[in-house]
Structure formats: structure tokens, C-alpha cells
Subunit: 330 residues, 4 copies
Amino acid sequence: MTVRFGLLGAGRIGKVHAKAVSGDANAKLVAVADAFPQAADAIASAYGCEVRTIEAIEAAKDIDAVVICTPTDTHADLIERFARAGKAIFCEKPIDLDVARVKACIKVVEETGAKLMVGFNRRFDPHFMAVRKVIDEGKIGDVEMVTITSRDPGAPPVDYIKRSGGIFRDMTIHDFDMARFLLGEEPVSVFATAAVLVDKAIGEAGDYDSVSVILQTKSGKQAVISNSRRATYGYDQRIEAHGSKGLVSAENQRPVSIEVANGDGYTRPPLHDFFMTRYTEAYANEIASFISAIEKGSKISPSGADGLAALALADAAVQSVKEGKLIRIG
Amino acid sequence: MTVRFGLLGAGRIGKVHAKAVSGDANAKLVAVADAFPQAADAIASAYGCEVRTIEAIEAAKDIDAVVICTPTDTHADLIERFARAGKAIFCEKPIDLDVARVKACIKVVEETGAKLMVGFNRRFDPHFMAVRKVIDEGKIGDVEMVTITSRDPGAPPVDYIKRSGGIFRDMTIHDFDMARFLLGEEPVSVFATAAVLVDKAIGEAGDYDSVSVILQTKSGKQAVISNSRRATYGYDQRIEAHGSKGLVSAENQRPVSIEVANGDGYTRPPLHDFFMTRYTEAYANEIASFISAIEKGSKISPSGADGLAALALADAAVQSVKEGKLIRIG
Amino acid sequence: MTVRFGLLGAGRIGKVHAKAVSGDANAKLVAVADAFPQAADAIASAYGCEVRTIEAIEAAKDIDAVVICTPTDTHADLIERFARAGKAIFCEKPIDLDVARVKACIKVVEETGAKLMVGFNRRFDPHFMAVRKVIDEGKIGDVEMVTITSRDPGAPPVDYIKRSGGIFRDMTIHDFDMARFLLGEEPVSVFATAAVLVDKAIGEAGDYDSVSVILQTKSGKQAVISNSRRATYGYDQRIEAHGSKGLVSAENQRPVSIEVANGDGYTRPPLHDFFMTRYTEAYANEIASFISAIEKGSKISPSGADGLAALALADAAVQSVKEGKLIRIG
Amino acid sequence: MTVRFGLLGAGRIGKVHAKAVSGDANAKLVAVADAFPQAADAIASAYGCEVRTIEAIEAAKDIDAVVICTPTDTHADLIERFARAGKAIFCEKPIDLDVARVKACIKVVEETGAKLMVGFNRRFDPHFMAVRKVIDEGKIGDVEMVTITSRDPGAPPVDYIKRSGGIFRDMTIHDFDMARFLLGEEPVSVFATAAVLVDKAIGEAGDYDSVSVILQTKSGKQAVISNSRRATYGYDQRIEAHGSKGLVSAENQRPVSIEVANGDGYTRPPLHDFFMTRYTEAYANEIASFISAIEKGSKISPSGADGLAALALADAAVQSVKEGKLIRIG
């Protein structure tokens, strides 16, 4: 079976998914839609697909699944429309920045029985997958403490910050999802600290650029998250899971692994400087997992519920910073 | 000038300091006192010094300085006695488990003008000293976020736990001192999470074995501490300081740095399995620093005030766990 | 411009090149030929190209270049035929196992003015390319000594060994090329030592499985090569170039970079276990370089002369082992 | 039992051994002799021993063992004198630069039944000892190929070079001993290549500064040695033993293990810059092993025969370079 795709949104991340779909032997990119005709044309010509309207894709009989890469504030509406249209849906995170809206959207997905996958791509990074596998095989015993380090090479433009929902909902949300993925038990409390240390303009926009978070589960397992919008040495992405029998960790990734030694010491190159080069394989694996789940009719993960859970943690973190206390979940 | 020493307490840590004093070209171990004559005899015979009573050391004219390695509940009293006796004092941490008692003790030290150094040995670890030096040289710019990982190979006996003051005052206190050492600005708030994941008996004794802490300074700098009483792979001691211009980190230490590769992968040996082998150089450097400060009449660090500050953070952490909220300091 | 390709040989390495050509935006796979129709059909159906005879590809007007992946003993003949047919030629190494035959073949290439690239794929490995770049930028000064470690996970079947030309012409030849690539000066002498330590059957077939080689250039620069047909821990491929100002090295590659720590130590996974997964990017970069050189009309490297030079070093190594002495080149 | 020592030679290496003897609980430094009274006085005052003449030490009844650290050309004579005087002898390498003289000296040692240890300190480096232990435990199966990298931070003065016996007898001799230590089978052939790449004055003095060597044993095991008198990044000392079941390697050592990351990459400090700081523990372990063997009456290793074997390999290497061919040993 070949899964036939429509792509909604032909921007930066749309191109990544267009390439992943086109390169997958079990999928075919049939059509692309975008408010900017030139963006849609570029993808259509690069991957040999048609340009259509969203309405046409919604009604199309030759399309089984859609990838939603449009602006965040359109996600929930599009998910509902395509769920009702009977398409399988891959949606970039987040579903929405408002928990109530997300819940309403998930209700529609459930009622229609639609398949929905939310784009937490890091679960599909080969190194992080290998960490998860070590845990699943029992090699470190019960997970007790997780440490997640996630630092961006630089801050995004303040305009982006303003409509992003803030660092917890935009950046830390990936780490909330990763913590849930690794802890194997739901966090029941969140404590967060936040500061503006990198760029005052971020503070003026009402957001933070340097945050630390502790999550705890019912049985006492803990996850610590350290985030910064600044890392001069590249895209710093590490995880560490400490268990009753041992420790498993995933190191940082760099484009080439060479080392130069001289009187100043031994120097390895900086890390990847961009999330798209760092997570190239993760994006491809993610779409492949979506396609495979559709083909086999198997459970899709991460689901809408996963998207909701991570957003709820982000909201709790915001509240924790505001109130200076531990926030209980659920 | 040779600094002439009396050693109070001939137990495990007393032996470490006896060796350090004896091996220092500018110091001489003159006498040792211990409630157990055999313990004192053993040190006297190994290092060629006399066995004396505490009273005799207090009154001795051939002794300039003392090293206090007796049980914790005697520290404050001994500091006061030897401060009044005009000796320079090196005291193992903590001064006392009670903040009020520590304050009273420091008052006596100040009134007598005595020299007092508190045994936060990690400040003298060559790797951590090198981290501090990188920061001092401005190589990573302003410190923004510090991450301290500190895991013991195994939990101490429950009897020890009961009189230790609990994990925050006994174990995390070293990390609180290290955070202060690296942040370069006093923490103004503490948040701590704690659980019993390793050994139920620790919980029954009213303590925890797995804790996570976030400290924050006035300007927003953050330190995250991760502690566990369990690390199957050895004594896990890492620090990382992230600044505006870069990152500096100190790796773990192992007895030998070899690697064996076969079909199972590439394996390096476990870490040091004991704090005394891990921090051998730190103990020697610490005493050397104390001796040097006495000789030169220079400022002694870490001081009694440093001991008090770390204890206050530990107390705040205990309160934070109990109340589930951020505790403001000072 | 799109470079239109014919593929000669649809075996294991043929598939690798078919994928690389198909995935390159500036190239198109037009036809494939193979003595086994099923092998050709498999590639034709996977990449949407035609199955043709070698003769048809030779005569085709819609084909600009060929990739030769047929058995070694057909390489020289095919190069000559396609040189005369005016096609650009990419040929897997070696051109032939006989130096005289290679010289004759290169003469035809020169007379016809054909473009010929020989498949020393390792020059296109991103890590080794980065090593070369560091040298080119003068960061390690003049190269003085090169160390190349190259160990296969396991020995090939003895049948393959018999027709391979022996370890020096089959395996070490890659390292001879790498040494030339890094030394920046031609070797003028070769000394080689060889033994059968892995598999007696290899010795019975007249070959060796464990060899050490020293190359030296006129100015005294040295390259040391260490080869084994056995490496239980994966495909061991390291290079190190020591210069007047410093050292540059390329580390081994593994599929995922995680580490598991427990009482046995810290373990990273084995290396890649197969040259095709280890050198995936190198194969793609190699074909891209060939296509780019055709498009731009620029110099092709590595050339037939490079293939000849590496083979001459292999022949000298064989002679050195036989005679127990240094063999002068050229 | 306490082993009572006389020290012959109070220079740089004499001081190292004086400290090691004084710090060993089972030994006592009784006397020191040196042609320069000030040098002897300095050691006598630092370690509380007497200054005596060589003759007085030879005749002394309160001395059990001597450490010979005098100039190389006095070693053989002193060994013979002290062997006849019934003392246990530790002699810095080499016994002599002439094989015949070494043989004559060893004959005297054997006739007198004296205990003689030759100072190949690297066998006592904790990391290299751990490599040997992995081999002894069978963890890598039969050793097949050994790679030894040994590069000095800088060339010694040409005056030293002239009386050193040349790079093979002065520097590579350590690696010849290490190869014998790791191969577990005697080399039967040597091939060496040499060049002057670092300092022309070394060439004018008749020596080389950059050499590569291949040793082979009867069963075909191979050792490759790479030496240079230049390493801008510190004292480069690595070994690697590849066996039928796996690989064991010892990494380089640096004073502190920190890492600084910024836009230029991840930088670790240079290595030790001096053999005495690199091999501090090796020197102490070496003397401890000598003392322990005397106390227990056990076999001393490395012996005079080990010194002879390494010198014979050095001589063969010199001959190999001169004649451009493999030299058979024994």
C-alpha cells in the first residue's frame, strides 16, 4: 500500500516533510497547499506533485493523509476539518496554545475516529530512540532521575517569541515530552524557575530565555530540564537517564567528528548549529513511523493526548514561575 | 616558617589530613588526640608525632594550628576553645547542624580574631579549580547556569543517616558550596524536590536518597543540583558552567583511563568508587592552602561564613520539600 | 544540466550508486545493464529506469556517463569501450589488478580525452574530508607523519580472497590512496610486513590477513598503515596526521552515540559493522563530485593516475613482504 | 623489613627516585653520592639522609640497595661494583649503549647472583599496567597487533642527542620494551624508517627525529611504533593492543580533565608537557616494585636481560635504516 499525502503549508518545515514523504518508498506526495502560491509551486516542482487548495485536498479521493505545517493558530481547525474528512493527520506541534482548545480538538478526533500524530520529532532521533531502547530492555533498571539539557544556538526574533506562547510552550515543550517519554510515569508536579539573561528584548516581550524545571512523578522519579536561548558552541541537546541499575546517556551531535591538537589543546568542532541539521534523521524517521502506522493500522504515537499532556506541563511551568511554588498536575 | 599542627580526631578523615600535613614541606604534625587511644597511637607511629589530650594541645606552645576531625556535634565547641587558645583552625564540614549554633560559633571566631577554614574540599579539586580559573579568566563570559551532578556509589548505613542531618545537610551541602563557588553571586531562592527511591530504610529514618534542587541568584542565574545515593558505575561528580560566551565542564574521574572494545562495544572502567580516592589531590591541596594562608597571613577561604551559607541553603531545601514552595534566602 | 547515467552492474555496490545517482538533483539514471536480468530488473523497478544491454548503453544518445560496477576483470575493457564511446566514466576500484593493463587502459583514456574517475570513496567521507581541509588550511603546519588504522569486522569468503588480488591490492589499496591524499607528496619507498593470524584458509589461498606498512616520501614524511581482517568491535577506520604545528585526527563512527554505565564500566556501542553503512555519505558525496565535475567541465579526482599509483604501492608491498626489504618506487 | 638505600647520582632523575624511596613505607634513604657536592647536599637535606662517597656506599653495612642515576657511561661499571658488593641494584636505562659491554655486565651480575632491575618505568604506569592486565585476563584473546605512539613535546639539546646513542637507543628503546611487554612473544625481525623533519641540527649530529618501526614475532604478531621529537600538544603516549577477541587501548593523560566549549569548538587542555609529570605514578610504582621484590626475594622485572633485548632491537633498527632492509634478530 502507498499512502498518498497532501501537504498543508510549504514553509521551512513543510519542505522537510515534503522531502521525507517523497523519499519514503511507501508514500507519495500528491498535492501541496499554501497561502503563498510561490512557496507551493517550489515544492510542487521539486517533488513532482500538484498545487491544490486546502478545500480541494479536503475533498480529494486520491489523498489518504495530510501533514499540517501551517501557522500554529490554524492547527486545531485544520485537524478538525481533516478528521471529519476521514484523512490521517500528522500535525506539527503544538495543536494549539490553549489547553481548552486542544481538548475540544481531541474530542473531535476521537469522535471521528481519525488518526492523529503530533510532531514531537525528538522521540525519533536515533540516539534518543537508543536511550529509550536501553531503558525498555531493563539495562538500567527502574528509571529514577532524568536530566535533559536543551540549549539553542541563539534566540529567535522577538516577533516570533511574541506569538510562540513563550519559552515553556515553544521550546521546553519538547523537553516535557522527552521527560514523559523517558520517565515511564506521568509527572504529578512541576516547579520552574525562569530569567532573562540573554536578551532584554525577550523580557520586554513578556518571556524568558533561561529556565530550569523539575518534574516529579507519583513514585518520586524526577526530571530536571535546563534550557537556554544561548549556546555559542552549537545546538546542545543531551539526555541522561539514571536508573536503579545504571545510567544511559545520549551525547551531543556534530557535523564531523575530527579533533585538532596543538599548543592550545585538543579541539573538536562545534555542534550542529541548527535544529534541522541536528534532527535530519529524526524528521525522516517520524514520517516513516506515521506512514507505517497508517499502513498497519497500528496505534499512532505521539498522539493528540501526548500533545495535550506536554502543553499542560508548559502551562503549569508558567504558573509555577508566576507563583513561586510547586504546581500539581491533574 | 613551619606550621606546627595538632590533629583532633584520628578516624578515617583524620588519617587523610595527617598524611597531608606530614607530606607538606611547610608543616609538621606535632600531636594527635583521640578518644580511642589505639587510633591516636596508629597515627602517632605512622607519622612520628606525639599522642596528647585535647587539653594538652589547647595549652601547647609548640602547636600553631589544629585540624578538627572529631564527630560533628563537637565541632562548634572545639572551634570556640581553640579560637580562644589562639590557634588557627581547620574544621571538617559542617561546623554544626544548627544555624543558630553556627552563628554563635562564628561570633566567637570573629571576636577572637581566629583563623578558621571549613573543609569544603571540592573547591581544591584540580579539575574544579581549573573550571573556576576558566570562569575567572572570562573565557565563558558571565556565568548564567550551573549544573552539578553528584551521586554516591551507595548509601551510607542508616545509623549514619540518622545523625547526619539528612541528605541536604550532609551531601548536598557540598554542592551548595560548589554552586556558590561557581555562580559568583549569592543564591536568593531555593527550590528542592526529594524522594526515597533507593532504600526504604532511609525513608523510615526520615530522610531522602534522591533529590533535585534549583538555586537562583538575584540577577537570575540558576544552578541545578542532582543528587542520588546510588550510582552503580562509581562516584559521579560532574560540574558544568554555562556562560554568555561559552561552556566549561569538568568530567568524571576514573582510576585508569583504558578502553576495551569487543562485540559488546567500547568499555571504559567504572569511576572511582570512594570519595577519598576521588578527592585525594583535593584533600592535599586543601591543607596546603590552609598552611599557605597561615604562613602568609592571607585570607582563609572557605571561611566560617561559607560554612554558614551552605548550611542555610540546606535548611531552606528541607523547608522547600516540606512546604512544596520556593524558599527565599536572607 | 542533468547528467544522464547508465549503470553497468546491478550488484551490491551497483545498488548503492543507483541510489546516489537517483537522489542527486543534477543527475538521472536512464538505464541499467547486468548479466543477471533479475538484478537489473530490481534496480530498474526501484528507480524507474530502463534495462538495456551494455552495447545499447554504449550506443545510446541519451546517456552521458556510466558507472562501472561489474567484476574487476571487466573494468579495463569497459573503460576503454566507453572512453571510445565518448562517455564520462566512473569506475569502481581497481581498474585492473595488473599494472601494465592499467597503464594501457589509461593510455586509451588519455587518447580519447575521456573523463575517468576511480572509486576511492574514502576521500569523500565527511570526516576524512574535514581532516584534509584542516591540513589545507595550514592548521597543523607541514604534514610529517600519517597513521592509518583500517580493520575489517571480519574476513571475506576465501573464494573472494582468491580473485581479489590479495589484501594489499584489495584492502590496503584504500589506505595507500588515503596516505597519498594526506601526505601531499608521493611515497618513494614501501616496506610491508604480513602474516596470517585470523584464518589459516586465507594463508592457504596465498594471502595474508594482518599487515603493517610504512611508506616514506622523498623529504622523509612517513605513513604507517595497520590492517587486519578482524575487528570484533566493528569497522575500525581511523586516520591521524601529525604535522609541524599540530595533530588532526578522525575518530571512528558508530550508528548511535549513546553510553551505558553500570558496575562493569561505561560502554558505548560497537562501530558500524559494514563498509556500506560506515561510508554511506562518502558514496553519495563521491557520485555528487563526479556529476559536478562533468557539469562544470572541471578536473576529475581521483583519476586513473591515482588508481595506478595506489596499485603500484600495493605491488611494491607484495614484493617487500616477499623479499624482506624496502622497495623503491618509480 | 626496611630496605636501606644508597642513591648514586643526585640529578633530575635522582631526585625523583629519592622522593619515591623516602615515601615508601618499606624503604629508607640512607645516603646519597654525587660528583657535585651541592646536588648531594640538596637531596640529603630534603630527605634527611647522609652524603657519602660511592666507595663509602659500596662498603656500607647499613645499605642494602642502590639506585644508579649517574651518567650512562658509568652504569655498567657501577652495576658490576655493586653486584660484587652484594647490593641489590636499580639502574636507570640503558645499562650501556654497547651490546657487548651490556652482555659482559650481565655476566657479572649473574656470577655474583646480584639482583638487578632496569628502569623501564612505563611498565609501571597504572594505565599501561591495566592494559597488560586486560591481556593477561584473556579479555582480548591472543594479541595480534600492537600500535605504540610516542612523541616528545620537543627535541632535547643537540649536545644531549650526541651522547644519547641516537633516537632508537634513547627514545624508541622505551617503546621496544613496551612492545615486548605487550606482545608476549619475542620480536624476530625489525624494520625501521627514519628522517630529520623537526630540526636540521639533529641530522647534522648524525641522528633522526622522526621514525617509524615495525617489529614482527615468529608467529607473525606485529608491533608498529611511531616516534617524533615534536608534539605541540604535549607528551603523546598511547598504546593499543589488538587481539583475536578485541582491542584494548590506553589514552593520553592530561593534568586536568576539563573542556571549554565556544564558537571555536570544544577544547580540552594540552597533555602533560614533561615525562616526569606524565609518569609520576610510574616512577613511584617502579621503585615500590623493586623494594617489594627485594623484601620477598621474588623475581625482579624488568631485568638486565630485558635491558639487553631492548638495546638489541635499537641496534637492529639503526642497521635497518642504514641498509634499507629487514633485520633478523638472534
